[in-house]
Symmetry: C2
């Protein structure tokens, strides 16, 4: 009888608990979809401020704006974390053309990669050689490469259903292409844009010269996918064509910027800290709506949804808007450094940095036990068409928080359109659908709610 009584008690409690979780999640979704603020905030960030490259005026305006908005939410604390960030400036619009042996030219759309040096003021004109990647470059060696512009043209693999995997399979060309080509005496690098679509938009992104001495650093630019196909075809017809490009980008000294942090302090376990975040900086070509305006406003919305639904978290929940994810990750490093110095106990961190598209689920970088517990919540998400709960990458900004205990998670939105816009001039507000954005915020808030309520399992 005692055991029966206990079972009865447990099933009633668990039944009640499941019901109250269902109701809470329904309330979160209803708020997000009927009076959500994420889309309005994104409108301001995108259309009133615009692209927010680290160290720019726009980045500072975004800090001011989001702090002010969080101040208005009635949180327990809102503050700025100073952080020194790199300042790279694109300068005048880049220009490039293909020139055949009789001197006829075809302009092609390019943009400097973030962190690249400029060309000389008159540009660079040189023979150009196509490679499919860094291995092929190295195999060709100095004799074939020196004095030339290297054209990295390995496309994203369209057969990969998860487009981020296709991105991972190519991005080494962009990140390290100039370093490796510079070692072999190349004079410039042109990289096929990381875009699954054929169009005229060049896609920028971070690159690094590694340890290369300053005199070996060569300018690097991305070319649109249509431009890359034209260049490749032209090269096949006539390997003696020349390529011209000119860019005037420049790296300045580091400047001060800020992470923006808003907090609802936990009622029961204030020292157990949960982070939900995105990055406030963006590239400069578009307005950074998907990357990562979406993640920023969704993170703010998570706190707002808690407040508006009268939910008082047991644990401390912070929205962290990280500065400088795109070209330095200084904000993420700084946040983790401060947390470590203060001996803060972070138990959970969730990042949204994969675009404001329909959420499909979450990836988890955590112990198996915690992932298994998440799987017991699956049915709570089913009505919202959230199906993906898997081991995987969480997010760059929260990465430095990783330790043995913490549960790290990333929102997994539908990824099919992401690289149409990623780091390009068409990453703009009109390409974000309001409902898709709001559903993402609601999914994040629901997951935060569950981790707040149930905590994490120890290792």
């Amino acid at each position: 009888m005692r055991i029966l009584g206990l079972l009865l008690f447990l099933s009633v409690t668990m039944g009640f608990s499941q019901t109250s979780d269902k109701q809470q999640i329904r309330a979160i979704y209803n708020s997000s979809l009927t009076e959500g603020k994420s889309y309005g905030w994104l409108n301001y960030l995108s259309n009133q401020i615009g692209g927010r490259l680290s160290g720019s005026l726009q980045a500072q305006l975004a800090v001011d704006y989001t702090k002010k908005q969080m101040d208005s939410l009635g949180l327990d604390k809102v503050w700025l974390q100073p952080v020194m960030v790199p300042k790279w400036v694109r300068g005048t619009p880049e220009f490039a053309y293909i020139e055949n042996q009789s001197g006829m030219t075809n302009n092609v759309p390019i943009c400097a990669l973030g962190g690249s040096v400029s060309t000389p003021g008159v540009g660079i004109k040189a023979a150009i050689i196509e490679v499919k990647g860094i291995e092929e470059l190295k195999a060709l060696g100095r004799s074939k490469i020196a004095g030339k512009i290297v054209f990295f043209n390995r496309p994203m693999d369209p057969t990969l259903i998860r487009t981020f995997e296709a991105y991972s399979g190519c991005v080494d060309q962009r990140y390290s292409g100039a370093e490796e080509a510079g070692k072999l005496g190349a004079v410039g690098v042109i990289v096929r844009s990381m875009n699954l679509r054929l169009d005229d938009n060049p896609h920028t992104g971070a690159m690094s010269y590694g340890d290369l001495p300053v005199e070996s650093r060569i300018p690097a630019a991305a070319i649109s996918t249509n431009g890359a196909d034209l260049l490749s075809t032209t090269l096949k017809l006539d390997p003696k064509i020349k390529f011209f490009f000119r860019q005037s980008c420049k790296q300045y000294d580091d400047v001060e910027s800020f992470n923006v942090v808003g907090e609802i302090t936990g009622s029961t376990y204030p020292n157990e800290i949960m982070v939900v975040g995105g990055h406030l900086d963006s590239w400069d070509l578009g307005d950074g709506s998907h990357d990562d305006g979406a993640g920023v406003v969704q993170s703010m919305e998570v706190l707002r949804l808690m407040k508006v639904n009268g939910y008082k978290p047991q644990r401390t929940i912070r929205a962290v808007l990280f500065m400088n994810e795109e070209n330095g990750l200084r904000g993420g490093a700084k946040y983790a450094e401060i947390a470590k110095n203060k001996k803060e106990n972070h138990i959970f961190a969730l990042e949204s940095d994969s675009g404001g598209f329909t959420p499909r689920g979450f990836s988890f970088d955590s112990s198996d036990a915690n992932l298994e517990r998440v799987l017991t919540w699956k049915s709570l998400f089913e009505p919202y068409l959230i199906h993906v709960f898997e081991k995987g990458y969480s997010g760059a900004d929260i990465g430095p928080l990783k330790d043995k205990q913490i549960v790290m998670a990333g929102l997994v939105p539908d990824s099919q359109r992401y690289f149409d816009y990623h780091h390009a001039q068409n990453d703009i507000f009109e390409h974000v659908n309001r409902r898709e954005l709001e559903l993402g915020a609601a999914a994040m808030a629901s997951m935060v709610y569950l981790f707040d309520k149930y905590g994490i399992l120890p290792n």
Copy 2:
């Protein structure tokens, strides 16, 4: 030992079978994503032909084009099924304004509902009364309604995650609003567009006068969601405003059109027929890319993917491009009528008519046994992020094929953006993403492949 041997045999066979299914589905996806034809076909249908309302020149061009394309696929048979269809023509652009008591006017965007009568040439100007639906209309009764324009303004419910449910919850206003208002002596009907977004695009769609005598039929138009909000706000400020609208649409006699059918005849069970289809007609305002150009080209692509992968179906597989789904469903009825007359045995029918967005799964109108069998295939679809396998609606065009045996299915794409475009001038090619369309075609082909291989279970 004999039992062990049998188990071993079974597990090897089943293992092999699962492996070969995996490989076949991978091959289907690879073809669709690397050399798929669906997007190119859709480009032609949308940009070279355009909106394809039944009875229009464009509808005939679409019949000719798709037949020619299917002729080029090396199918066993391609043919046209003649069918008489209604011919309704929009006429000159509609015009509407709100007029306050001092005669000041505000233009608002409207479009005639499909099947509506015209206004008199000089338009209609009358007092306007807002209702939230047909019940409220009836409750108000003739004394409040006669002589007025009725404004149906119940919005789609944004808290429903599946937007088609929100559509179902509103569409009676559009379909039957004029019939019910006409019975009470109203002089016109204005219906809030079935759109979850606030914008300036009116959304057309089918309406019916039921048995209403010709003299009681009143003109009906959709107003954009922004227009509806303006009208509602203005009415609250001043219930005595008048509303003016003018439209010159006209219903002509029925004309001949066609379903387009392509077939790969089954090698083993040619008399077991499987249909995959969409509808070739569309509304006239946009180019019908999502509704239902996407379903048309995906259905053609299913057959092409079979051919290009050298798959020889055991059963007969037909792509059926139905005419006149939007305002009559004559093509669907005709196809089923012919099938019945010929005593054809249809075992499976799959429709794609929910837009060319990322596929999320399938809904099934079938016996429980067949749905349960589909669930055993779930893991085959998991790598392609296809998670939804549920009981539900299949499709309008295949509806008339329903009998006790047949398995009916509908492709379930992500639905968040669908009603941004549905039946409006912005349902155009540029709002279809190539990969999302191709993933849908591959999902459909994979499901057809499995049903071809394993057949259906008897009731």
